[in-house]
């Protein structure tokens, strides 16, 4: 089972690298926001998978918190880019 879990982790890492490439290339700032939102979701999956690989399912708490922070951060950055202020 460990081999399949590590293979899935490597696949997620490849996807993260591709999205990071788009975040570097992205011509508009919206491309970058979209790519970083996708990277955040992939990071949640990565943390959950790594918890199972290392046999420490307590990592799921970190994944849960990261999912919430990721959503709020995306909306906040988007609001800042749109209106140039955060209130």
């Amino acid at each position: 089972m460990d081999a399949i879990l590590i293979a899935a982790t490597l696949g997620i890492l490849v996807a993260i690298v591709l999205y990071l490439l788009r975040a570097f290339l992205g011509p508009t700032s919206y491309d970058r926001i979209l790519a970083m939102n996708a990277v955040g979701t992939k990071t949640v999956i990565l943390v959950a998978l790594l918890g199972f690989v290392m046999d420490r399912p307590e990592f799921l708490d970190i994944a849960l918190v990261y999912a919430m922070i990721n959503f709020v951060a995306t909306i906040a950055i988007l609001r800042y880019v749109e209106r140039r202020r955060l209130d």
Partner: protein, 110 residues
Amino acid sequence: MAIVVYSIAGLFLGLGAVVAITGGVGAIRMPDFYTRCHCAGKGDTLAQLLIMVGLILVALEAYPLSNLAVFKLFFISIFILVTSPTATHAVARGARHDGLVPWKAGDPRR
């Protein structure tokens, strides 16, 4: 019995990784911001759903139910299932309000 559950879980995990890589390739190769929204949003949501189902099967087999791993995975999955399309929609709507013109066939790639 364990080998059957682990086989199904491995199928889901592999499928989820393939969908995630497909979304990344789409985000690189699509010609326009709105088309990239399509593959990033859908690829994210489906990939996390498949991988979380696989991990739930692993947790059912490997850990006792009192560990709460199954419930945490379920809540993470439901949360991302709601927030990932919402965030993608908000970004696309912001770009539309900002006046970003959609790509048409024949335009140069952006």
